[in-house]
Symmetry: C3
């Protein structure tokens, strides 16, 4: 009764939250969630253009689920190409099982 889907998680600086969510919406995902937190490390989370951001700092964790793996790959690639040249962040994918697949 469940269907496989792909969850895309983007952890990045709050400053580019709206740029990331625009990429998500443009790619055709039907929604997303944002949780605020803090982060530390080079984990892609230290900005080369703002070297003062080496310690712990504020992050947003943005998640979206898509039924179509191609859409997931598109979102991941666009976030890296458009956001992570100038800003720090990581993106990763995981497989989840959804119910009511018509909603995704």
């Amino acid at each position: 009764m469940t269907t496989q889907a792909t969850k895309i998680t983007i952890v990045t600086e709050r400053l580019i939250q709206s740029e990331v969510t625009r990429i998500i919406e443009d790619a055709g995902a039907s929604g997303y969630t944002v949780v605020e937190g803090s982060g530390k490390g080079q984990h892609g989370l230290r900005s080369s253009v703002r070297p003062q951001m080496v310690g712990a700092f504020s992050i947003v964790k943005i998640e979206t689920l898509v039924a179509d793996r191609g859409v997931a790959d598109t979102i991941a690639e666009r976030v890296i190409a458009n956001c992570f040249q100038q800003f720090s962040g990581i993106v990763y994918l995981s497989t989840v099982e959804i119910l009511r697949p018509e909603r995704f």
Copy 2:
């Protein structure tokens, strides 16, 4: 040294947090966590009974781990049946590896 378990994630409106956590506890899960955030989209996250909630709005992300897959399915089905007719939200399952399985 790890054991497979199922993580159930429910993203929904804050208004029904206690209803969701009661379903989790009634099904026999041994605990849960709640994180607050914001969300947007039709992703099941727009309430049909409150059409003004179309933009970004507050959500809670509720997670629980259960060792028994049947319990996970029960929680997912009850949340959809009891909460998501009137309120918007999504539920998804993922496989994780736990340590100390006697605690779940």
Copy 3:
């Protein structure tokens, strides 16, 4: 174009956040994120030394990604050995796909 990695999630009392993140950094992970929330239950989340903590209480959810599974196991084992004798918490592992593996 993606590479498998292991995500380690630790949900525990805020009091030992810095102890957990030190274990993560000592094991060689390149970063971590922390989100605050609330939790309830015996889920490993009730402290035996502080039995008053039976209801809902504040938690932190700490996550890190590592490309090397052995590092993930080390972090999980050290957190249990060093933190969860005295404090309550859970640790679980999941498989994710990362991009730009050189950053992990």
